[in-house]
Amino acid sequence: MLTDLSAWAVTAVVVLGALSVAAGIAVFVVDSMARATFALLASFLAVTGVLIAFDLDYLAFVTALMMTIEMAIMAVFMIMFMMNPAGLMPMTMVHNARGSALVGAGAFVALTVGIWTIDWPVGEVTRPADSTRQLGEAIMGSHMLAMLVIGVGLFATIISGTLLATARGRYDRFGADLRAARPNDPVPGGLPR
């Protein structure tokens, strides 16, 4: 069976795929933290392009959106916490490079062998008119339970992440009896209270 993708789309998929792998390798090759982060972003955006070719508009755009924001924040983290932000002084910070390379290559080879030997059940398929609507209806219908769990999980992440990261609790802010009228913050916030 021939693919529904046009020749243009197939070319785009192949080129973008190569690009995403190249950018992924660049993440661990370049000297500069900023460049590593933005190489990873390039890899994500290339995958976004492939997803667009597969008609997964919503997922593609959400990937681009989330990953860009994530990478921007990651870049700041890099600079805050790490040496060598701009690659002024090239250095490597790796351990066990050989073993890691072996594991990575092994995983790739195993997966690739599987991919090219399995007889994939590619047959006639019916395409939905609108993949976004399909996903939305699944989230609000058949897969609602999964989405609920995800929602609770994300909420728990917000709370636990904040707890882990912050050093100050409400007793620090509002006093031992929690009666302070204004929180005692190093920088006052924007709410009039």
Binding site: S32, A34, R35, F38, L41, L45, I52, D55, D57, Y58, F61, V62, A64, L65, M66, T68, I69, M71, A72, I73, A75, V76, A86, L88, A129, D130, S131, T132, R133, V187, P188, G189, G190, L191
Partner: protein, 318 residues
């Protein structure tokens, strides 16, 4: 990309790819010029001659020699500068012009939002590239501000999607035939306008380019790169005005006059609104805005989405 949907072909399909792209580019330039000219008029208080000043300075910047700084990250810097106008163009690609969009996807509103979020990376790079204190501080500020406005912006766009029962821009316009969304979604509209000013770091949200950090992300820009960033910023604001028109003000709907004229009138109206309000406010400091955004704007926009969802379920928009 699935072109099925509302049955309205993209402008690329209707008029050919090249003319459609050209149209978007020309509209982006005109919008950018419009924003800059109105801004100049309001700021200088001088006559209509001031309107042409953005053109003059644009030409001047093109001729200007580039300056650079010590040990810049030139690759990322240039990439960031070039991305700003490109992203403005791309975000305009899903705004209906003459009833058609250049791209029509099943998630146009998310596309618009995604282009805005890629701008985070671009602006941060513009601040990071020159390897200078003030520029980098501007980059940080943009991210801090972004973390504040991003969720309210998403919720306000989603509210539009709920009302229209679709994320496709042309569907959104079609859904407003009987009633403009601004009437039932005033909070989402106001939040959208404010966040548009924020992602173009303009007006009261200009702190990433603030005077107190000597121009912030723009402090080290010169020549063509400065032109690109300024142009992209103005075009983004213009694209946001056009998007606000399509998403909240009924797009090209209106009596007597032809559609495009209505769209133009509304878009210009939004631009003037931007400038008149934005220029009369001092810059809001990001560390103040964070708390308000998270404690006030997010609950408000969620409430707005809830109200619209209930209205939608009750068949109000049908």
């Amino acid at each position: 990309m699935s072109d099925s949907g509302a049955g309205i072909a993209t402008s690329a399909a209707a008029w050919g790819l090249a003319p459609a792209v050209l149209l978007v580019a020309v509209v982006a330039l005109l919008l950018a010029f419009g924003v800059a000219a109105v801004d100049r008029l309001v700021v200088s208080g001088a006559g209509s001659r001031a309107m042409w000043e953005p053109l003059r300075s644009g030409v001047r910047l093109m001729a200007e020699e580039r300056r650079t700084t010590l040990a810049p990250d030139s690759l990322l810097w240039r990439l960031g500068c070039a991305s700003v106008p490109v992203l403005a163009l791309l975000s305009l690609a899903v705004v209906p012009l003459g009833g058609r969009t250049l791209l029509s996807t099943s998630a146009d509103l998310v596309w618009f939002n995604a282009m805005e979020s890629i701008l985070w990376a671009a602006v941060w790079l513009v601040g990071w590239g020159p390897n200078a204190v003030h520029a980098l501080t501007g980059g940080y500020r943009f991210l801090i501000q972004g973390l504040s406005y991003e969720l309210p912006l998403m919720f306000s766009l989603i509210t539009v999607g709920i009302g229209a029962q679709s994320l496709r821009a042309t569907d959104v316009v079609a859904a407003q035939e009987s009633l403009w969304f601004v009437l039932t979604m005033p909070v989402a509209f106001a939040v959208f306008l404010a966040t548009a000013a924020a992602f173009a770091f303009w007006g009261p949200f200009a702190s990433p380019a603030g005077v107190d950090v000597a121009g912030g992300v723009r402090s080290e820009l010169s020549g063509v790169e400065r032109l690109l960033v300024e142009l992209g910023r103005a075009a983004f604001l213009g694209a946001a005005a056009a998007m606000a028109t399509a998403a909240f003000l009924g797009g090209d709907a209106g009596p007597w006059l032809p559609g495009p004229v209505w769209q133009l009138v509304k878009t210009v109206g939004v631009v003037v609104l931007f400038v008149l309000i934005g220029r009369r406010l001092p810059v809001v400091r990001p560390e103040r805005f964070v708390e308000v955004a998270w404690m006030v704007l997010i609950p408000l926009t969620l409430l707005q989405a809830l109200v619209v969802a209930v209205l939608s379920l009750s068949g109000f928009y049908a």
